[in-house]
């Protein structure tokens, strides 16, 4: 069993970005993503685009649904120009709250079929399911742009699960 906390990642006027942080890891999932690609010259522009895309939504229009790509229960941000396959998975709760996960290079048509993105895709989909349940049960309360309550969840490891 792997336990995670949902913690604040970055707060802007219109959007609070949360992240997922495993209790066993030093870095949260989103920092792992940025750390992996920020010094990679091939993906540097993509990373810069994602960062400014987050800032722009955070400071201006909010996390509008149209800016996210649906990925089963969760979402991915964003489809980048020049055919980039880099994906950052997340769960957009509403216009003011987005929970970011991890991501990677999607090498197949479906995220589940890509070794590098499958676990991250599954993790944010688990998170989306758990959040929906906890909000329905009122163990998590949405307070404007904040989440309050029990922000811990866990996932059961699959037999071929490994850390990326």
């Amino acid at each position: 069993m792997k336990r995670y906390n949902i913690t604040l990642y970055k707060v802007y006027q219109k959007v609070s970005y949360y992240t997922i942080h495993s209790l066993d890891d030093k870095l949260c999932e989103t920092d792992k993503f940025f750390n992996r690609f920020k010094d990679d010259p091939i993906h540097l522009t993509d990373i810069q685009t994602i960062k400014y895309w987050m800032e722009r939504m955070g400071d201006n229009q909010g996390a509008m649904e149209r800016h996210f790509r649906p990925e089963k229960r969760a979402h991915a941000i964003p489809i980048l120009p020049q055919g980039s396959k880099l994906r950052l998975y997340c769960y957009r709760l509403n216009d003011r709250i987005v929970v970011l996960g991890n991501g990677g290079i999607k090498s197949s048509r479906a995220a589940q079929g890509s070794e590098e993105t499958r676990l991250h895709f599954e993790l944010v989909n688990s998170l989306a399911f758990v959040l929906q349940q906890k909000i329905a049960q009122q163990t998590i309360i949405i307070d404007e742009a904040s989440l309050r309550g029990n922000l811990q969840f866990y996932t059961k490891p699959k037999k071929d699960e490994r850390d990326i």
Binding site: D31, R66, F68, R69
Partner: protein, 132 residues
């Protein structure tokens, strides 16, 4: 708060690219709302799948001038303008403060002005300004 995220420097070129993409998308959505249309309607008018138009609306699409022109043509409105064109359009339009006490149809407060290319969706000026 993330030091790793904060350490990423974003060059002006990238900022301008994302800003332009968002501005274009926001303008398209304003026009669609004003015309009572949906993203699906726009896709149909363009002969595209809704999923493709949906990808354009995410704020990082690299719109070509050709695709902007196509969208403008089907919506019958401008999406983009240049500073010099905007200057020509709006140079004779003066905004003066007024106290708006009740809803006034926009036709009643516009007078002796060069018509802007895009009329506001709201039938009145509710920000305390009117076109003189």
């Amino acid at each position: 708060m993330s030091e790793i995220f904060d350490s990423i420097q974003v060059p002006n070129e990238v900022k301008r690219f994302v800003d332009h993409s968002f501005d274009i998308v926001d303008q398209i959505f304003d026009i669609l709302a004003r015309q009572g249309m949906t993203q699906r309607d726009l896709a149909e008018k363009l002969g595209k799948k809704e999923s493709e138009v949906s990808k354009w609306m995410q704020g990082t699409h690299n719109f070509t001038i050709k695709s902007i022109a196509k969208i403008e043509a089907v919506l019958c409105e401008s999406i983009m303008t240049t500073p010099s064109k905007a200057k020509v359009t709006y140079v004779n339009t003066k905004m003066i403060p007024v106290r708006v006490t009740k809803a006034i149809p926009v036709e009643m407060v516009r007078a002796n002005s060069v018509a802007p290319q895009v009329m506001p969706a709201n039938p009145m000026y509710d920000n305390g300004l009117k076109v003189a």
